[in-house]
Amino acid sequence: MKKTFPSWTVGLLGIVIVILVPVLYFFPRADKVSSNPMDYLPEKPVHVDHTDIVKGEFKTGQDVTRACLSCHPEAASQVMKTTHWTWESKAFNVPWRDVPVTIGKINQINNFCIGTQGNENKCMSCHAGYGWEDGKKAEQANPENVDCLACHADTGIYGKGLFGNPADGVDLLAAARSVRAPTRENCGKCHFDGGGGNGVKHGDLDESLYFPTKNNDIHMGGDMNMQCTDCHQTQDHQILGRMVADNYTINPQEQVSCKQCHVNQQHADERINTHLSTVACQTCHVPAMALEDPTKVLWDWSKAGQDGRVDDHFTYLKIKGEFIYEKNFKPTYLWFNGNNEYRYILGDKIDPNGITYINKPSGNINDPNAKIFPFKLHIAKQPYDVVNKYLLQPITSGKDGFWTNFDWNNAFTIAAPITGLQYSGQYGFAETYMYWPTTHMVQSADKALQCNACHGENGRLDWQALGYPGDPIQWGGRDK
């Protein structure tokens, strides 16, 4: 016999193959793609403590930025490409305008504090940049105006004041030494307090999320303790997720989605899965908003400036008018495909006797990409030009602003050259609707909606308004 492998090894190999191949082929196996959402969370870089790295002395915010840029030279140019800096969307072609339009706080209005133009000294305390006292053009041109600290410093040490500059008395060296990856506190400083106070604007974002319980938000609360950036994943300072209200169409790739992490996960209950083509995750898993802190649902500017009324944060402020806040309430449900059907552009004509939509989510029962989605509806009575029939943006802050002298005419007159909107001299108040998608304060399955939250006698959905002939349990769904 040759000194190679003895012949029986061939047989042995044959037996092993004959046994193993069929067994492995038929053996029940788990899916290759992980269905554990935790596997899809971004990996966080190890935090580098900057205490010993950052040296002073810093007199201005720009001094700090210069120091940051010495090691992170790309950072400012990256930030300057983001909407956190520009406060302006890309240009959209919209059917009701001949030229492309951009949307953002920088040039458009909402139905809360209305608009930032001319109000920079106050509004820019939430802008990720310094130096608005020099005007928009100068401010936006200078990379050293990028405010690194707003997103990276310990919010207990750093805070912003007028014109986007650091607040008086902030220890800039201590702030610069505290930098780290953004936390819920950094994002929350602006996003939880949007609209002028805790929870005013969003309904699903408020200061209760600084230290949330699991019942407040299953992701941020409890053991998960997720940070905003776990979902709003970030590359080169470009943060995933687009503000629906300040866009016209949004590329789904740019939007945060539950499916980022919830891959390959189906409900054990097939009946729930039959809903997935028509109902967004949020619809069932965000059954209510403003769970702990109330949010503003109605703002009547027409009552502002009245003398002799007692100021109360939740019902009336002389500078702002009358409000209604609500807490732990059901969202409004609309078909939604991720885009806006309409977004009010400064100068758009309105029907002062009807409802003007600041934004109107796009989608209907016949749109295969649309799902039923929860929204916070914010209703306002806000000023418009009686003659020109468009919404007006007042100057509110500053010594000539409405908040100082309570003179609407003056507030509109001085705003005209800034906004470019002519003021006829006659103003009135028109009703506006603004829709805010409700997507935070997510509840676990055991607290999500059940069938009869929507179906049956006291369901929360208005089927006819959604385009159904009646409850789909009886009438069939849109796919029949």
Partner: protein
């Protein structure tokens, strides 16, 4: 009054509007318009018993006349077991009629004795009047819809046509003092079938029940409408009606016509806890017989998650399933319990159709149906509600809506086998979370005239908020369905103890509550005789522990008391009754879905249930057989004095893998295996010892190419296959011992390897036939026994003496006679048998009929195990035998390399040995 309310309301609305200013102006789009209830129902006049409009007569409403203007109320009443309640099946239960001395006079609430409510409906000629028809209605009327026994006598006459007579249980009443009083139905009125009770949204049950309890039966139906704006109030000579509710023609205005299909709340009023508003945490209103379905079984119908309920349930946080998946899915009671001739519930095809008809469109027109809707509602296979038994099983059951084969396809083996033995409820109602009655002991009385009650599924008093509700696992009993199918289904068992006596007619009767009270209680306290017998600590009170008949002295004390009341032969009896559980269904993920729940040593199928905490002076209850439940288990008294029911699945001819074991198979198999092991070890040791005494190398050997490659390959492949099959088979056989391994994975390996083994065996058979080597395996009959004895002798003695093998091993004749016989047995008998039984066991899922013809799993599985044991034994012996070659390892080496050193013998020698 009404107008003022409206004004006040309007004013309030205005005020709110003013206050919130814009808010009310900006009506939110989510506001859902209020749906009008059944707007299609036309308006109608309310008529009294004489057919006159009640607006004119001011009399009570007659539902039969009012609704009878359009609907055939006579038909409806005659086709409604809710109304009949057993009246039509009523017949006296005397020794003449029912020789076994049963209490029951009918199969319904009217005449069927219920030891929970205890009061016995007296029959004509009974020695003592217990419950007269009038008092029956007073006590049970809250849960009776009227008509039937509330209007008609047992003989079929109108109750109002009977003359008041203290001798007749239909026209009398047992007064508080024990004196029988006459009852005049013309004064009390009769209670017609109350359409409003089920067909209006909020019937005024409180007012209705108040009238019933005070014997004003004729007013009960009208009282149901108090608060609807139609009926104002009762006056001395009749009723006042709200004229504004009627139009100029005397018909109800459409706003006041709120007739609707029965809702879950309507059904709940009489049947049990139904909680519809999931935003309000569920609480249970009562654990007594006003809430019977919940009290007797713990069933609660609600879409709410158990974790969201307001009950103090053990481990509630984790119980995120709903109380009942069908309620969660928006099913209404009437979706399953519908009117049988409702055209929207027309079945696929009636049973009387020719086979090829799948659907018969010829049905009732909706108008015809509405005129004569059958109020015999579709129903299931309840154990305790036996009225109109001909309608049992008319309901769509689980399998009519759910395809079990598809629903379980992804995980459950032997689906068909499971479905023909186990009712869906068994797995899908794994646990009841609310407490239920366990026992009522009427042999003693509390001072307020109640029995001593015990509940299961709760620590302490079920109504106390501090009591921890633990719920309970229903006991599984075999139910005989109306079609004869027997299925294992979940039940609560309620046990009652009570006194009976023989009355003057020789009929057995339960001791009247009145007599029992007289015996126990005098002037509101326990009587002296009772106290002296029961009051162990002499404190003048009877504690819970004292108020139980646990000694003969206590029994005698009560007995003599009862005898002194003239009761003949008073004695204690016990009855255990099954209450079926069909609601509180869980989805698959919350159902029993772990095989080991049943297929294990501690199986759910044989799990016992406590019947009562004690047996009064040793009286063991008997199982109530007057239902569709086959109680084949045993009622035993435990060491703790409590009474238990132990199911015995074998008595129902059930074989449950993992639970019902055929132990002798394993014993015999392991004996065989261990015996052989010991045998070869002994034989080997002897050989070892004797071989040392013998000179070596005297046997001549020769190197021969014994096994060509295919044989070797075939052999080793089979070896590996058999070893793996034995190991995986063992794991499948005793999953409880190998819990760490994936049962499903092991089964897959077993099945795949089995296929490989079969293919390998077939190929090898083909090889052996083609090469004619099959002959080697066939023992030659001629001289076989002689040769076998020679070979056996060699193994017994020659081998120890160093003698040569009696038969030479050559490539063409490799086996000695014993080997031939053994292999013949293994390959021609055992292997085919094992393949056959294995295939059939697998095939039970695919072609159950064939497998059942062979005895089904109960035979196949133990048999397969037995053969497996013999295979294991064979391996031991076979491996040992290979060591008897020229050298111990020579044969094995040969099977690897093909070449073997074999003994060669002189021809003469061979002849000599022969």
């Amino acid at each position: 009054m009404k107008n003022r309310n409206i004004l006040v309301a309007l004013g309030l609305i205005l005020a709110i509007t003013a206050f919130f200013g814009i808010r009310s102006a900006l009506a939110k789009p989510e506001a859902v318009p209020v749906k009008q209830v059944a707007p299609i129902h036309p308006t109608f006049a309310l008529l009294d018993a004489a057919g006159k409009n009640v607006l004119e007569s001011g009399a009570a409403i007659s539902t039969m006349n009012s609704c009878g203007q359009c609907h055939d109320t006579d038909f409806i009443q005659k086709h409604a077991f809710h109304s009949d309640l057993g009246l039509s099946a009523y017949r006296r239960s005397s020794p003449v009629d029912t020789p076994d001395g049963e209490f029951n006079a009918s199969n319904g609430m009217f005449g069927e004795w219920d030891p929970l409510t205890y009061r016995f409906l007296s029959q004509q000629g009974d020695e003592r009047l217990d419950l007269s028809t009038a008092e029956w209605l007073e006590l049970n009327g809250a849960r009776a819809v009227g008509g039937g026994p509330a209007t008609i006598s047992r003989e079929g006459k109108l109750l109002t046509s009977l003359n008041a007579n203290t001798k007749d249980p239909e026209t009398s009443l047992l007064g508080r003092t024990g004196k029988v009083e006459a009852w005049d139905w013309n004064v009390s009125g009769i209670m017609e079938m109350n359409c409003f009770l089920c067909h209006t949204k909020s019937p005024n049950d409180q007012a209705r029940v108040a009238d019933i309890k005070s014997g004003n039966f004729g007013d009960a139906n009208t009282a149901t409408l108090i608060g609807t704006g139609i009926v104002v109030n009762k006056v001395s000579d009749g009723w006042t009606y709200n004229k504004d509710a009627f139009d100029e023609n005397g018909k109800l205005k459409s706003d006041f016509v709120k007739i609707q299909d029965p809702t879950n709340a309507n059904c709940a009023a009489c049947h049990g806890e139904v909680h519809t508003n999931i935003e309000v945490p569920l609480t249970i209103s009562a654990y007594d017989l006003t809430n019977p379905q919940t009290a007797t079984t713990g069933q609660v119908i609600s879409a709410q998650r158990i974790s969201d309920s307001g009950l103090n349930i053990h481990g509630k946080d984790a119980l995120t399933r709903s109380w009942d998946i069908h309620a969660e899915r928006q099913l209404k009671c009437t979706d399953c319990h519908y009117a049988l001739n409702n055209p929207s519930h027309t079945d696929e095809a009636r049973k009387s159709e020719p086979d090829h008809i799948l659907y018969d469109p010829r049905g009732l027109d909706i108008g015809e149906y509405l005129k004569m809707p059958d109020h015999n509602l579709a129903r299931g296979q309840s154990a305790q509600f036996n009225v109109a038994p001909e309608y049992k099983g008319t309901m769509r059951r689980c399998e009519n809506c759910h395809d079990a084969a598809k629903g379980h396809a992804d995980w459950l083996p032997y689906i068909q086998t499971h479905m023909t033995a186990v009712a869906c409820e068994t797995c899908h109602i794994p646990q009841i979370y609310a407490p239920a009655i366990q026992s009522y002991d009427w042999t003693v009385l509390t001072l307020d005239g109640q029995p001593v009650k015990a509940y299961r599924g709760v620590e302490g008093d079920p109504k106390a908020v501090t009591s921890l509700l633990t719920g309970y696992e229903p006991v599984l009993l075999n139910r005989t369905n109306i079609d004869g199918q027997k299925l294992l289904a979940p039940y609560n068992l309620i046990t009652t103890y009570y006194w009976v006596y023989d009355d003057a007619n020789g009929n057995k009767r339960p001791v009247r509550l009145f007599d029992l009270k007289t015996a126990y209680i005098e002037n509101g306290v326990y009587s002296a005789n009772i106290l002296s017998a029961f009051d162990a600590d002499d404190n003048g009170l009877l504690s819970k522990d004292e108020l139980v008949i646990d000694t003969s002295a206590k029994e005698e004390a009560v007995k003599s008391k009862l005898e002194s009341l003239g009761l003949k032969n008073p004695r204690i009896e016990g009855l255990t009754q099954p209450y079926s559980i069909n609601h509180n269904v869980a989805r698959g993920e919350n159902a029993v879905n772990d095989c080991k729940t049943c297929h294990d040593d501690t199986s759910r199928v044989s799990q016992s249930i406590k019947l009562a905490n004690y047996s009064p002076n040793g009286v063991i209850p008997i199982f109530d057989m007057a239902n569709n439940v086959n109680a084949t288990g045993e009622i035993v008294k435990g060491e703790d004095g409590a009474v238990y029911y132990n199911p015995v699945p074998a008595n129902d001819e059930m074989y449950v893998f993992g639970s019902s074991r055929v132990n002798w198979i394993d014993w015999l198999g392991s004996l065989l295996f261990v015996g052989s092991l010991l045998g070869v070890v002994g034989h080997g040791t002897l050989r070892l010892i004797t071989s040392r005494k013998q000179p070596k190398g005297h046997v001549r050997t020769e190197r021969i190419y014994m096994y060509e490659s295919y044989r070797r390959f075939w052999h080793w492949l089979q070896t590996v296959a058999i070893v793996i099959l034995l190991l995986t088979g063992l794991i499948i056989h005793r999953p409880d011992t190998f819990g760490a391994l994936s049962f499903r994975g092991v089964v897959t390996i077993h099945n795949v390897i089995a296929v490989i083994l079969v293919v390998n065996a077939l190929l090898s058979v083909f090889y052996h036939i083609a090469t004619e080597r099959i002959q080697e395996y066939i023992p030659r009959p001629y001289g076989f026994f002689d040769d076998a004895i020679v070979q056996a002798k060699y193994y017994i003695s020659g081998i120890f003496k160093g003698e040569g093998h009696p038969f030479e091993k050559t490539p063409t004749s490799r086996m000695n006679p014993i080997q031939k016989a053994t292999y013949f047995g293994i390959l021609m008998v055992l292997l085919p048998l094992q393949i056959l039984t294995g295939t059939l066991m697998w095939g039970v899922q695919q072609f159950p009929a064939v497998a059942n013809w062979f005895g089904g799993l109960p035979f196949l599985a133990p048999f397969h195990s037995l053969v497996a044991w013999t295979f294991a034994t064979f391996i031991i012996v076979h491996v040992y035998m290979t060591t008897t070659g020229a050298t111990p390892l020579e044969a094995m080496r040969a099977m690897v390399t093909g070449y073997e050193e074999v003994e060669t013998h002189e021809l003469a020698e061979q002849g000599e040995t022969k």
